[in-house]
């Protein structure tokens, strides 16, 4: 689960190799840009963004999610997140709720997959019950927020097809604009338009278009920081729903990488004792 940058996950290494060969195979680099279709160029940018974010191994962070409706009423969720990078599959992640108090101790375990549905379990502390849940519900809101589950799960190159739309300056940042079309029929979107800065291939902004192809939401990232000299993470992500006027702000604190998390930190036992 990424919860932040949209391009965090490693893709299958063989697939990456194939794509790299397909995209970069020609030795005539100078002619390549002209020869590429917008689809190929969109794919190339996405693969590059992905490749720059491989090797972070494991990560822990704390998020504060602030929900705000049109009338200005606020509701706050405090969430801790641990992720484990998988070499040949999507990430494993464990999400624990601290706030609101009535859901304190509720925890969520997810094994995301490049092919097929993710595996997800929910721990309900009052009953001490671990419940396997359907991962089809990706278009639904996460904890009543403006983030859908699919906005928070890790990005896989194979989950979209691409179209490069050109270059644009976004608030003074020289950016690529790439359209992403979800391949999953259960996605709530027809397309996402993504702005990535040219300097570091970091996602700066995403426009989400609903099933009727109307602009639904905009996600903006701010205050990027670099970790381990390589991995960029934003301290703040703001999702604005244009149709309802509601916003959700995600503030990240205490990002830690390579803290020594293991596969055994991501099973049903660890889900039950997650606090």
């Amino acid at each position: 689960m990424l919860f932040n940058k949209s391009l965090t996950n490693p893709i299958k290494k063989p697939l990456l190799g194939l794509i790299a060969t397909a995209v970069l195979g020609t030795p005539l680099i100078a002619h390549q840009a002209q020869a590429m279709t917008p689809q190929e160029r969109g794919m190339e940018i996405s693969v590059e963004a992905k490749q720059r974010d491989i090797g972070w191994t494991d990560m822990a962070t704390v998020m504060t999610m602030t929900l705000r409706n049109k009338a200005g009423q606020e509701s706050v969720r405090e969430i801790r997140l641990k992720s484990l990078e998988q070499e040949k599959d999507g990430d494993k992640s464990l999400t624990v709720f601290d706030q609101p108090r009535d859901v304190k101790g509720t925890a969520f375990l997810s094994f995301s997959h490049i092919d097929g549905a993710d595996d997800q379990w929910l721990f309900l502390p009052a009953l001490k019950r671990v419940k396997r849940i359907s991962s089809r519900n990706k278009s639904g809101p996460f904890m009543g927020s403006e983030f859908a589950f699919e906005d928070l799960t890790s990005f896989e190159v194979a989950k979209y097809s691409y179209k490069y739309q050109g270059d644009e300056s976004l608030d003074g940042i020289d950016s690529f604009v790439v359209e992403q079309y979800p391949t999953d029929k259960y996605s709530g979107y027809t397309r996402r338009v993504v702005w990535l800065d040219k300097a570091h291939y970091r996602v700066q902004k995403v426009d989400f278009y609903d099933r009727k192809n109307s602009l639904l939401k905009t996600l903006s990232f701010a205050q990027y920081k670099q970790y381990l000299g390589q991995y960029w993470r934003a301290d703040r992500a703001t999702m604005t729903n244009h149709q309802t006027g509601k916003t959700t702000v995600l503030d990240y604190a205490d990002y830690r990488f390579k803290v020594g998390l293991k596969a055994s930190d991501f099973n049903k036992n660890s889900l039950k004792r997650a606090r």
Partner: protein, 401 residues
């Protein structure tokens, strides 16, 4: 007056107390305190039909504080969770319990726990056949989902081929029952001061259990075995009270869930052998979720389950040939509003029960719940017959801290 019958047990408490004292020796994080405090109002549709029962209104207060402590970089943790309820009319429902007082040590590939704890097994929604470790705190609610803390030492082994949990359960907890002033009981009160056991060890019998569980693709599987004191008592009439007898039993069980897209297929089955009975029971069905109904953020879950018991109408169980239908509406809003409605229909006796559970968060720390229960039966053999006049509406306001 015995206002609070504190149901604690065993020397394990002492062991835990010493662990608690010993804990600060190593570097520990600050203990976290959390919990809830609440007020519950119940209104029954009718006066009680059994002698001594209270009238149509009932107030109750509850508090459930929890202390959590971890040290050794999170590899050791201690949970201490108590529960206390005061009930306006029923002295048996006014009770306290140590829900948890348990130490857990986590190592690579295994986990050891010791103390008083709670364990849930199973996958179905309307009945929990596989869930045998903890005794039911039956005065809390008629759904059987509230449990008393169980003394235990358990070892959990994590392997590639699944998780194996081994349990030693020293000591037994008696089920709670409504007192003479209480509603939701039969014509005869259960005499909880006059309990009998088949084992000469009484409530000190050392029970043992083992469970294997594993996730294989879309399937979550569990197998278990249990040897020890039957959590379900045999109730026999003695004068004008019922006396509970807790027999020894052996149980084997299976629980399976298949998570196939929007469909969750669930199945549980047990075989139980005791001196008075041996039987097989099963509960199975599905939960299907309609995501984003009517172009909204709301989800609607549809549930159907069927429960069967080989003892048929002779058994003491209320579920022997019963069909359950339910729907779960989740608003997915800021206040986490939820509504669950279900009906259980006894296909043999014609009796039915209806359950409605709605809840909504108020602000950041309050929660308001509205529950309703309807019971009906014309057949005196049906366990529902005794509580046919106990239809109720319950409003609960809780503050979480």
């Amino acid at each position: 007056m015995k206002l609070f019958k504190t149901r604690i047990a065993s020397p394990l408490v002492k062991v835990l107390a010493s662990a608690l004292v010993a804990a600060p020796v190593t570097a520990a994080d600050d203990p976290q305190i959390s919990g809830r405090i609440g007020y519950e109002a119940r209104v029954f549709a009718d006066d009680g039909i059994h002698a001594g029962q209270s009238g149509t209104g009932n107030s109750s207060l509850l508090v459930e504080p929890e202390l959590y402590w971890q040290w050794n970089n999170g590899d050791d943790m201690l949970v201490f969770k108590t529960f206390l309820r005061w009930d306006e009319h029923d002295s048996q429902r006014s009770h306290g319990d140590i829900r948890e007082l348990i130490w857990t040590h986590v190592a690579d590939g295994w986990e050891l726990t010791a103390g008083i704890g709670k364990v849930f097994w199973g996958v179905t929604e309307f009945q929990h056949l596989a869930d045998v470790i903890n005794q039911t705190d039956a005065v809390e609610d008629s759904d059987g989902e509230d449990k008393l803390g169980q003394q235990m030492i358990s070892l959990s082994l994590v392997r590639d081929w699944g998780i194996v949990d081994l349990y030693l359960l020293p000591g037994f907890r008696e089920r709670t029952f409504s007192g003479s002033d209480g509603r939701l009981r039969g014509p005869l009160v259960v005499d909880t001061d006059n309990v009998r056991y088949e084992s000469s060890a009484g409530d000190k019998h050392l029970d043992a259990a083992v469970r294997w569980s594993h996730s294989l693709g879309d399937y979550d599987l569990g197998l278990h075995g249990f040897h020890g004191t039957n959590r379900d008592p045999v109730l026999t009439r003695q004068g004008n009270v019922l006396v509970p007898l807790y027999e020894q039993m052996d149980q084997l069980g299976i629980d399976v869930q298949a998570t196939l897209g929007d469909w969750l297929w669930k199945f549980e089955s047990i075989y139980r052998d005791s001196s008075s009975d041996s039987f097989t029971a099963a509960q199975g069905g599905f939960e299907y979720t309609l995501v984003g109904i009517m172009d909204s953020a709301m989800d609607l879950g549809l549930l159907l389950e069927y429960g069967w018991d080989s003892r048929g109408e002779d058994g003491t169980t209320g579920v022997q040939d019963d069909l359950f239908l339910g729907s779960r509406l989740t608003l997915n809003d800021m206040q986490s509003t939820e509504l669950l409605a279900g009906i259980g229909q006894d296909l043999d006796h014609g009796g039915y029960s209806v359950l409605v559970e709605a809840s909504r968060r108020l602000g950041n720390s309050w929660k308001l719940s509205l529950d309703a229960r309807v019971f009906d039966s014309d057949d005196s053999l049906d366990p529902l017959f005794a509580i046919r006049e106990d239809d109720l509406v319950q409003l609960t306001l809780e503050r979480y801290f």
